[in-house]
């Protein structure tokens, strides 16, 4: 029953919500409104589940003194400390926002900024014209990179930004559109497989129910 009930809920809700989309009746709208509320409530519980899981994993790591366990203490202090400060309000001058502005923002910005250094190093080491396709990619990358910075004055006019815009508007868009259509068809087939109970990996666990 641990597998049958979730599968039945999934099948019924999948079919009902698909039909609901095409029915503009008041009852159908009532169902839609309530399902949206349910979805938001489920999302909030999913967040809480993630938080509890994070606390559980790091607590176990500290108790069992696993590799790099001192970092888990930092993670736990961060989670619990942020939670506690949240009780004193979340306005612009609250302790919560002080933590956010002076710890989270600089840390995340620093991590992301490091990308510039690694991209520069990686482009020097790995971006090679080894094949025809790689050469095409390299030329397109150089055009777009130079076309996306204000160098018109030094490169004799608007031709480079226009060329970069052409690369984005035509070859890039054709490839993107192909990917999007593929992803869309894949998503539809996966949704059908889940609704019909063919794809069951979302239930978790092994084969035995």
């Amino acid at each position: 029953m641990r597998r049958e009930i979730p599968l039945a809920i999934c099948l019924i809700m999948g079919v009902v919500m698909t039909v609901q989309f095409f029915v503009p009746h008041a009852a159908s709208q009532w169902l839609f409104d309530n399902m949206m509320k349910w979805l938001i409530i489920i999302a909030i519980f999913a967040l809480m589940l993630g938080l509890l899981n994070l606390i559980k994993i790091h607590t176990q790591k500290v108790i069992n003194r696993r590799k790099d366990w001192p970092y888990s203490i930092v993670a736990l202090v961060g989670v619990v400390g942020t939670l506690i400060t949240g009780f004193w309000g979340i306005g612009a001058d609250s302790p919560f926002m002080v933590l956010y502005n002076y710890i989270q923002i600089p840390m995340q910005a620093t991590m992301f900024s490091l990308l510039a250094f690694y991209i520069a190093s990686a482009s020097f080491r790995t971006f090679r014209a080894r094949t025809f396709e790689a050469t095409l990619l390299l030329i397109a990358a150089v055009i777009v990179m130079l076309g996306r910075v204000p160098l018109e004055k030094y490169l004799g006019g608007q031709w480079l930004p226009d060329l970069a815009e052409w690369v984005l508007d035509y070859p890039n868009m054709a490839a993107e559109r192909g990917i999007m259509i593929g992803v869309g068809l894949g998503a539809i087939s996966m949704a059908l497989k889940i609704i019909l109970g063919i794809e069951r990996s979302w239930l978790g666990g092994g084969e035995k129910g």
Binding site: L47, I90, G91, Q108
Partner: protein, 283 residues
Amino acid sequence: MNFFDKFLKIDRRYIFILVAIGVVIPLVFPLGLAVTVSPPVKNVYDEIESLKPGTPVLVSVDFDPSTEPELGPMTAAVLRHCFKRKLPVILMNLHPGGPGLALAISDKVAKETGAKEGVDYCFLGYKAGGTAVILSIGRDIRLSYPADYYNKPIDQIPMMKNIRSYSDIGLVVTLSGSTFPDVWVAYAHERFGAKIAAGVTAVMAADYYPYLSTGQMIGLIGGLKGAAEYEKLIGVPGNGLKGMDAQTIIHLLIVLLIILGNIAFLLMRRQQRRGEQTRPSGA
């Protein structure tokens, strides 16, 4: 190990130093490069210009601090433009890391422009659910946001009195460092007909060109360059224009490194081939 081999295996810390110099020098000594405006950015500007004063604009700050240097300046520029045009702004977040940034940017821009909270703009904060939140706004914004960020009931906010769904909103602007623009297009535009404009990081911008050609997105602000273009359009220089000099130097540096790396690679390969040809057979 020959010269080319040594060059290709240069210590990466030298490259890091070059990048650091390339970022710092233009920030200290600005080059003042002139930015030209691209059509996708101009389209967003024109759409906001075309809205009648009093038409609400929904601005969804769907990013966290990691992408703030690119998306923060464009958020500020869009807010400045809306406040200047007397368009009430509804601010919200679909990303849990976004409320602090939305709060800081809106506070700063409101102080500069004299916009009043509750009258010219309101901040609804973060709501979990992503797709469900976007869909529920199509029915009634009160379904997902019965109260604002400060827990004030929506109906007590003066500017929100006549706003219920996308049909009362002139434009939705999503500023995102992830795939939220896809979700806004798929649900807010396709199901409810909302007009969507997006502001995204430079690396993501290429992904959204198909939506521009189909009209599913009315415009796109891409990366720091897009932010700089928008600042130029509204005539208020900010961090976007300030950062363009450093970004230009880094782009040039990376292109130079790619060219040098490839020259060294091709010369080394030619040398290796020559060596193989001159080597006696069977050796």
